[in-house]
Amino acid sequence: MAFNSRLVALVLPALIVSLPTLVLAQTVPSQDAVAVEFFEKKIRPLLADNCFNCHSTNTNSQGGLRVDDRNGLTVGGNRGAAIVPGDPEKSLLIKAVRQTDKLKMPPMKQLSEQQIADLTTWIQDGAVWPKVEFTLPKGDPSPEYARLRKKHWAWQPLRDVKAPVVRAADWARDDIDRFIQASLEGKELSPVSDADKVTLIRRVTFDLTGLPPTLEEIAAFVKDVGHVSNVPDEHVENVLHETKAIEKVVDRLLASAAFGERWGRHWLDVARYGESTGSARNLPYPHAWRYRDYVIDAFNNDKPYDQFIREQIAGDLLPANSEAQRDEQLIATGFLALGVKDVNQRYKVRFVMDNVDEQIDTVSRAVLGLTASCARCHDHKFDPIPQTDYYALAGIFRSTDLCAGVRNKMGGGGLDYYDTDLLLKLGPAKSSENDSATKREETKKALAEARAELQTLADSKEGNELAPDGRQKNVVAREKVAKLQAELLAYSDPAMQGSVAYGVRDSKTISDTEIRVRGEAEKLGPVVARGFLGVIPFADPPQVNPNQSGRLELAQWLTSEKNPLTSRVMANRIWQHLFGQGLVLSVDNFGATGDAPSHPELLDHLAQRFVRDGWSVKKLVRAIVLTRAYQLGSATPSTHMATDPANELVWRHSPRRLDAEEIRDATLAAAGTLSLSRPEASLAKDFKVTELRNNGPEAQRLMAGAVSNTQRSVYLPLVRNITPTSLDVFDFATQGMVTGSRDTTTVATQALYLLNDPFVRRQSLAFADRLLKQADRDDAARVDLAYQWAMGRAATTAEIERTTNYLTEYATAAREVQTPKLAQAGRKAPKRAAAKTSNAQTAAIINPDQVPRDEDQVKDEVIEPTDPQHAAWVSFCQALLGSAEFRYVR
């Protein structure tokens, strides 16, 4: 790879892999004092005076070249390396300053003979550039490191803990209950009574599938009391049978496809899943949905969690028995690829190191609950993670190609950022070449010529002149480039010839990497051997294979049974999703600044059980929801509130607000419009890999699509910064950040959404129509049914009375409204002169930084009931969907 040319130039490439790191470090030209002085006296001032204004980090590096950094010169810009150390004749820089060729630098000026001679000498002598002084610390940077490694709870091996003995022997059903009960008894608290069956089935159905139970499921569960009579002294036996009934429910839920759709989404939060690069230039990832589906399937198939992690870190390096398995494992590595990326980054070395950091951050927080990326710039301030550990990991990811279909390019437009080499091909291997090869070469040549022409026009007045067709010449030239780009893609884009996925593969160059001084990508310190974090010491960590990136061994290290963090972190995540808060509140941070566990022994018990049961998520979920603790009611006796208001000891089941997806899915379920089938791909699947604007046509398509879509929310398009409103208003995960725990805010925008959003109004209309179709029911029975569909319970007499009165009053009032329309007319987007838009588009073609902004992201939609009676029903249905009871589960 280009940015390795510094090493390549100095060492025979074949030797790199096997050379010990020390030797590599010494191959940098010796920092001869004389050579450095020559550089500082002659070369640096020469470059600063003549080149920096156009070619330095502070400026808009013309042609992608910077000359204020040795790496910048050796890597070069769009025309390739500017210098070849030791070989002035092969150095483009020398050709340019001699001005004998087409390329003449600096513009409008010629360097003196002496200056050119100095540059030549400098390159001849190896292009010495003073090195940054950096000494590797010996041992730990702080004695606190050793103490923390030994003492901090999270990094100690899992303990074999026995369930405690409890006083009241008839409450606990499982060891989990005994841990909970023991800590309650320690505070002289007793658990509240169990939840009733209707509450319980609603809770467990939402928790396991993200959906409300159907009326039939509720009825079947309520009826299912076995053969036991309700005689009081047979109470205990009755409880046993009730347990059987809930087991049936739980097993049904675990087996349903909806389980993976909910629990897969929990992982997608942690995996910071998104369908675009986000950041400064937002480009779509049209194939990201394959990873989404992989995750959902993994949870549905109860793929062992250790295998799940190994596939996501090193799926490409794992053996596969079939093509299907190979493809699945490749797709799994999308975990490492789908993060936020700044494709507008000017310098490849920064682009690469930023992405490496993003990967380290995601892996360490998602899997280990460690904030390892704090050590990018300096030794971790709180946790024993020295900078050397960070760069040991960085070497692994540095030896890995990140295949997200995009490359970095400063100021690119159109398809400039799209890189078809950075895609993983799925399916059978294609026969290598066909007759399109010639055409491809021809198109490539034509494109290069068109690019050159465009460049010439951009640099001169001629660009603004009009072409024969009356348009500006540089617009015509830019269009020609875009057209040829698209043509070339058609010949070479694997996404147009078959299926592709995002993910990673080992790089052609495998090597350890240097510490970057203060985290700055260009400031190279000593090389660090690839490896893992020393914070979790175990005796025989896997050794990195020198011929591979090391991801395979990283995956093995992460999922080793001796690594206590992976199982603890996941067990805590599972607990959190069932109880509303983790035993460790800071679910993504188990470090010294995180929270201590409320029940440390229970956490170890869960982690051990998880590993013992083959890392089965379903088994652990099942065990937990069948405990007495999970099935508690939500009452709040004042004694308990005084002792433990936050319910950390689990004396009751805390109610929770449904999350964004659940609210939307439950709305569709109540309206009878929910489609449970999995959609093909994503709404973003056909997007071109060009910049997305928040107000552009693609964004409008996504927003409109999200409003009319009736599939489960997990399948909504998740292009970063263009989040569907229904998800955005209810604290959806911040896409692009590891989000183990979402916020639960209560704000006015949620009420505005529930009152006015086209999705809610559309579904309220469908809900009302569904009710009104019940021809054999009177209004009271319809109201009752509406409550059942929305809340999962019958309406009370008072509620029925209130509602029927409401319907009458509303219809009367609606009749009195003088305006012919019950719904106010939607706002019309102001029409603008067509010429303005085309001007703006023209500007965008010349300068990708200028975009039109006269379109609104969301257009209002008029959803009208047909008559006052109908309007009253729609209004009532919308009120149900807007009520707090609808979106809280107890």
Binding site: N58, K109, A280, A458, Q581, L752, L755, V858
Partner: protein, 464 residues
């Protein structure tokens, strides 16, 4: 052990205390809002705060400005043709400049204005009348000469893609809350559709209620317009509230119910109030004329200025408005005339209007771009990006009048005096608003984050 990371969970648990009429939770709540004891007490004494995350909060030190209006000139307006008069540049146009490239003099005439004799080009005749009220900072510099990253850095403090940070407005909401609880506290009108888009007014890892509310330059806000007539909608809301109160009366009701009830009342009020505020058509003709309000894109910035004044007057903490299209790599001459024609008169009218209403006493106006442009030529009629020295100006609350801080070199290339990095600008703006940028922290991913990260110096020199 308390960890601010779980802020919102914590809030919701504490809200339970309110419904069960226990009171001590608010003391604990205060602990998450800062380390300053006095500040904690102030918060603790305001019991309704648990349900009102945007309630006004005590600042760290003396407040000089209560509100900010930021006039964002997106695309990097050429300072050398507007606010930065460089005689040497005018003299040496066409010669090779330091660092390479051909110097290009401004084609616009500069002249001195006001008592201070401040040089302003002919492009800003209206605003030039206000120079004696303006406080220039002329030594700004930033990190990346590309719009996407620089715009994000100006708004969030960093351009690092690997972790999106909260926007400055979100930090202000977190630190100060807002005065009018019936309105959003942070409004951004006509924000960038690219260059990070929503990142620029997002809350990132801060709770979502601190993010900015996006408003189109036509005054449109999604879901803000009632979809039925008021009488009918009120009936519907009454029904929702009746259901909510039923639920609240049940044992073990959800913690946030009171907040839910309040949120509907606030939404109802906002539906009435916000569109009214954004409806500038009822302003007297004299005001509309002063701002130069007209339909279509040419009048966009005038409408935004007027909306900004109305929002500010109503107590919105932070309003950002935007005029895009200042990226003159070519057509510098033509487009500067067009852009300044669209922005000069409304900007001056806004300053006048705020002054007449006494709002400049506690409102700070900030005018500027993500970076500046080069003294050297790009192509036949353009200037490239310059991040090493460019100005902004401030006016109003807390800053000196008719003052200039910092300077660039004789050609306007590098900042040489009173250098201020973007983080210094942020630290200074926070200080004017009464916040210590080093104390305004939020714990995320095991680390206390700041708007200014590990940098930032307050430019006390400009304080009135």
């Amino acid at each position: 052990m308390w960890n601010p990371q779980t802020y919102s969970n914590f809030l919701s648990r504490r809200q339970a205390l309110k419904t069960s009429s226990a009171g001590f939770g608010y003391l604990a709540l205060a602990g998450l809002l800062g380390q300053d004891a006095e500040r904690n007490r102030a918060v603790a004494n305001e019991p309704a705060n648990a349900l009102r995350p945007l309630a006004p909060k005590a600042p760290h030190f003396k407040v000089q400005a209560k509100r900010i209006i930021f006039l964002f000139m997106e695309g990097a307006a050429s300072q050398l043709d507007t606010w930065e008069y460089k005689p040497q540049l005018q003299k040496h146009g066409g010669k090779v400049g330091p660092g390479g490239g051909l110097l290009t003099a401004s084609k616009f005439q500069f002249s001195q204005h006001g008592q201070t004799g401040t040089w302003v080009s002919e492009l800003f005749p209206h605003t030039a009348k206000h120079v004696d009220d303006l406080c220039f900072i002329r030594g700004l510099h930033t990190d990346t000469p590309a719009h996407p990253q620089a715009v994000i850095q100006l708004h969030t403090g960093t351009a690092l893609a690997s972790l999106t940070r909260p926007s400055m407005g979100a930090w202000l909401m977190y630190g100060l809350g807002t005065e009018n609880q019936d309105l959003p506290g942070y409004v951004t009108i006509n924000p960038s559709a690219n260059f990070g888009g929503a990142i620029n007014f997002g809350s990132a890892f801060l709770p979502a209620h601190f993010q900015g509310t996006r408003i189109a330059d036509t005054g449109f806000v999604p879901n803000l317009k009632a979809q039925t007539v008021t009488t009918l909608q009120r009936k519907q809301i009454d029904l929702v509230q009746a259901m909510n109160r039923d639920l609240a009366a049940k044992p073990g009701a959800p913690d946030q119910l009171e907040g839910v009830i309040q949120s509907f009342e606030l939404a109802f009020k906002m539906q009435g109030k916000v569109p009214e505020l954004l409806d500038i058509s009822k302003e007297p003709q004299s005001v509309l004329d002063a701002y130069g309000v007209k339909p279509g894109p040419a009048g966009s910035f005038a409408r935004q200025c007027l909306m900004a004044r109305r929002l500010t007057e109503a107590g919105v903490r932070f309003v950002e408005i935007c005029h895009p299209g200042w990226d003159q790599h070519n057509n510098l001459h033509r487009d500067l005339i067009k852009n300044s024609a669209a922005t000069d008169q409304p900007t001056a009218a806004l300053l006048d209007d705020l002054g007449q209403r006494g709002l400049l006493d506690d409102t700070l106006v900030v005018f500027g771009s993500e970076f500046g442009r080069m003294p050297t030529a790009q192509g036949p009629d353009g200037r490239d990006h310059n991040i090493t020295g460019y100005p902004m100006w401030l006016a109003g609350a807390g800053v000196k009048k008719g003052f200039s801080h910092g300077a660039t070199d004789e050609y306007g290339l590098h900042a040489v005096e009173g250098r201020m990095h973007t983080t210094d600008l942020h630290a200074t703006l926070l200080a004017l608003m009464g916040l210590d940028h080093e104390q305004l922290t939020y714990r995320y991913a095991g680390r206390d984050f700041r708007l200014t990260d590990v940098a930032g110096n307050v430019a006390h020199e400009i304080f009135a």
